[in-house]
């Protein structure tokens, strides 16, 4: 087992190689869990040490996808954390609905379950037709999957309760067709969606949004990077726009958090002051 201090140096060098070679910057991610994921990746690549991944980063372009998949945690599900979606529907929708045209940003959309969940709720609220949803992530493989709208049938069926808890008024099965063991969401839900690559660590402001969802992404960042991302959100929102975070994410430890007020603390719905 490697000495933690030496392993720390290896980690620095690996992240620096990745940043210089491809521009992906993970240097401000929360260290402990990043280290765990990279150790697991090294192990599954038959490497004893993190530093042995550096040649792969520099010389094996095919390794990049594997590395990004290894680093980013893409686990998600339809109607995850329904109370936050519910708070958006109850507290933000009245204001959202007062706009002739809506722009919503889902940052860190992963494989897209969250996009379909929100689109369904917006359709039920009568807002989808005048909404543009921008869904972004750094993981291109996840983004590809998001565009297909095809998911494991079991996982979608399991979301029926959460759909209801989020305020859904129909049957979730009204929105997808089941084929074999897959569920494909209705294409109309995706008509107002654009998926693109955007890195919260390095990329810039993303046009005037009324609502931003960034759930279970900040948890992977250190405080400085959280601060950058939240600043980016504040700059990307229109006056009085809404921000939804993951249930265990908080603005409290961040100076830039002062730019927001709590709409529903437990549901992690915030609003630009």
């Amino acid at each position: 087992m490697t000495d933690p201090v030496i392993e720390g140096i290896e980690l620095e060098l690996l992240l620096q190689a990745l940043q210089q070679r491809y521009g992906y910057d993970f240097r401000q991610y929360a260290r402990a869990s990043l280290l765990r994921r990279l150790r697991a990746l090294a192990e599954s690549s038959g490497k004893l040490r993190l530093s042995e991944l550096i040649p792969l980063v520099l010389h094996e372009p095919a390794f990049l996808d594997q590395l990004i998949n290894g680093i980013s945690v893409s686990v998600t599900e339809p109607f995850r954390d329904p109370r936050t979606l519910r708070a958006i529907m109850d507290k933000a929708v009245p204001w959202l609905g007062s706009h002739p045209f809506l722009k919503i940003w889902i940052a860190g959309c992963s494989t897209g379950e969250e996009i379909y969940s929100l689109a369904i709720l917006l359709e039920e609220a009568g807002l989808l037709a005048r909404t543009q949803i921008y869904a972004t992530d750094i993981n291109t493989e996840s983004m590809r999957k998001a565009k297909t709208g095809v998911y494991n049938l079991e996982a979608v069926k399991n979301a029926e309760d959460n759909y209801r808890l989020a305020g859904g008024r129909k049957q979730l099965s009204d929105y997808y067709v089941a084929q074999y063991r897959r569920a494909k969401f209705a294409a109309r839900l995706f008509e107002r969606v654009v998926v693109s690559q955007h890195n919260l660590a390095t990329d810039a402001v993303f046009g005037a949004m009324q609502l931003i969802l960034c759930r279970n992404v900040l948890i992977y960042f250190n405080r400085e990077l959280q601060e950058r991302a939240v600043d980016l959100f504040a700059e990307s929102l229109v006056h009085r726009g809404y921000l939804a975070l993951g249930l265990r994410e908080s603005l409290r430890t961040l100076p830039t958090g002062l730019r927001f007020e709590e709409v529903d603390g437990a549901s992690k719905l915030f609003r630009l002051r």
Binding site: P4, A30, A32, S33, R248
Partner: protein
């Protein structure tokens, strides 16, 4: 085969599963109000079930207790409990991180994840205690604590509601002490006082 141990204990990590809540409610209240080390606890629990335990503990212990929050600074003498459904990790700057990485050995929070990250951070200023449970979680983490020079404690298997977890540890390494529930708080208290520099008998 005991690693050399010097200096004070900065943190105690405790892991448990089936049967461990009752045990924690007995052990933690017996820690003194001036207990110095931070106490980081990982109990296998589903999402939204740990707040109840926090409230129970808060009523009975002298030490402050709370569910761990992401990026929170670890406080001496504070009991930080891993929230159900999230891994709890220790960062080198002595703050806490939560993560939604996949479960490890079917568990999230995972004891291995907590123990390993704590071992990397605190090295020989760490004490780990593994309690009752029906899983092998915590054995690897305890080994890591040992490898970094920390002290490994485990519940005596016959005193455990479910012996699987202590037994998995014992199959992997020889701990510094095998403890009956009654012995846990006194030993932690002794280790926690900064005067202790040698391994107790």
């Amino acid at each position: 085969m005991r690693p050399s141990f010097s200096g004070s204990v900065e943190a105690v990590v405790i892991g448990g599963s089936a049967g461990s809540v009752e045990l924690l409610l007995k052990v933690l209240p017996r820690l003194p109000a001036d207990f110095q080390p931070a106490v980081l606890v990982c109990i296998h629990a589903a999402a939204n079930t740990t707040q109840g335990l926090v409230e129970l503990l808060a009523e009975r212990t002298e030490l402050p207790v709370s569910e761990a929050e992401d990026k929170q600074l670890i406080a001496p003498g504070h009991i930080h409990l891993a929230p159900g459904g999230y891994h709890l990790l220790v960062e080198r700057d002595r703050s806490l991180s939560l993560s939604l990485d996949p479960p490890v050995l079917h568990a999230r929070p995972s004891i291995d994840v907590l123990f390993e990250s704590a071992a990397d951070c605190y090295q020989n200023q760490l004490v780990s205690l593994l309690l009752t449970g029906a899983s092998a979680d915590g054995a690897r983490g305890s080994l890591r604590v040992r490898q970094q020079g920390g002290r490994v404690l485990v519940q005596e298997p016959t005193s455990a509601a479910v012996a699987t977890m202590p037994q998995a540890l014992l199959a992997l390494l020889q701990p510094d002490a095998i403890l009956h529930p009654d012995e846990m708080a006194p030993l932690l208290t002794r280790l926690g006082s900064s005067l202790v520099h040698s391994v107790p008998p």
